[in-house]
């Protein structure tokens, strides 16, 4: 074994080959593989994040639905309450109105009765006077006896 030009030539070849492969294969390829590794990791992280976000969204949606249900139930209860109130009020109103109407009618009836009594009295006096005057003819002073008769009628 001696140092020959072949040895030196092979060393130079080796050096060039190392440089070339480093520049055109190792460098770009390791770079690309690192990038890909990073991209895969990012993608997985994004997927994880997506799943998490979906879970959160589902939770939020469930909360919203629950809230809405509660609200609806509240509104329904309120409405029922309000309806009952209105019915009660209406009942009370109707009752008072009815009572009022009854008293008014009663008052009117009384008035009518009174008026009828009054006119009846007057008519009875007239009739009595007419009848009496027919009975006793002209002997009786209409004026003097009229007062007396009025008295009698007033006692009716």
């Amino acid at each position: 074994m001696s140092i020959t030009a072949t040895l030196i030539g092979q060393m130079i070849t080796f050096a060039i080959l190392v440089w070339f492969i480093g520049k055109y294969l190792w460098g770009p390829m390791t770079q690309m593989m690192d990038d890909r590794k990073k991209r895969i990791a990012d993608g997985l992280a994004a997927a994880e994040r997506g799943v998490h976000e979906q879970e959160l969204a589902e939770q939020r949606a469930a909360e919203h639905i629950k809230e809405a249900k509660e609200q609806a139930a509240g509104i329904l209860a309120q409405a029922q309450k309000r309806g009952a109130e209105i019915i009660d009020e209406a009942k009370i109103d109707a009752k008072t109105e009815g009572e009022r109407l009854i008293t008014a009618a009663n008052a009117e009836i009384e008035q009518e009765v009174n008026r009828a009594k009054e006119s009846l009295r007057a008519q009875v006096v007239d009739i009595t006077i007419a009848a009496a005057s027919k009975i006793v003819k002209k002997e009786i002073d209409a004026k003097a006896h009229g007062d007396l008769l009025k008295d009698v009628v007033g006692q009716l």
């Binding site: 040895l7 070849t13 080796f14």
Partner: protein
Amino acid sequence: MSSSVANEANGPTAVEYIQHHLHNNSIGDGGFWVLNLDTLFYSWLLAGILMYIAYTMGKRMTADTPSGGQNVLEAIVEFVQQQIKDIFPGSNPLIGPLALTIFMWVFLMNAMDMLPVDLLPSIGQLLGIHYMKVVPTTDLSTTFALALSVFALIIYYNIKIKGPMGYLKMFLFHPFGKYLIPVNIVMTTIEEVAKPISLGLRLFGNMFAGELIFMLIALLGGASLFGLVPQIALGTVWAIFHILVISLQAFIFMLLTIVYLGMAHQEIDEH
């Protein structure tokens, strides 16, 4: 393999056949200026293929839908990355491309071993090329080019991370503390020098031995007609086993490079 050179009537003897196949096609003066043309040709060819693949794949790859070759390369790159992450302390932008290049290039050069031993040399013979060693890693020039490059990086990073004094201290006080400085120097020097030698010789030895056994198996068929059956059987078994060897040697070379450079990157521990 049936077209074995030894099969010819007045062909070379077994020894000549093997020696012929272990001879590099080299030009030069036998001193420094020796160029092993076959080694250089096949290693450059494979380096060119690697560069082509690296360039086209680097341009064409997509992060979203990788397919085919990109998947294979990604698997290799990820494998190398994982080894570095497990072994290498800290980070160094050079270590990744270095380890990947060693793994792929050494693997491809080793894989030339899987071609029939006589296929390419026979074609060469037809074209008038008389010597051809197809597997670049059976040439010490290649394995030691890699090993010495790694060794240079080991020294460079030792000095860069530990500082010149720290590196010197490693030789003086490691592994036995300050009372055995002469022993320490010898021990550490051996330890350090053994790194490139073991790297280079392990790869060379494995590939050389593997190639040699392929040749011996090829000779079986050449010796007689009855040799054809064991030649095919043994050749198949050895080739299948060799798939393991070539991958393992490429992997070991890469792994030890990472380990040695990782050691160079560690701060010296005080005794």
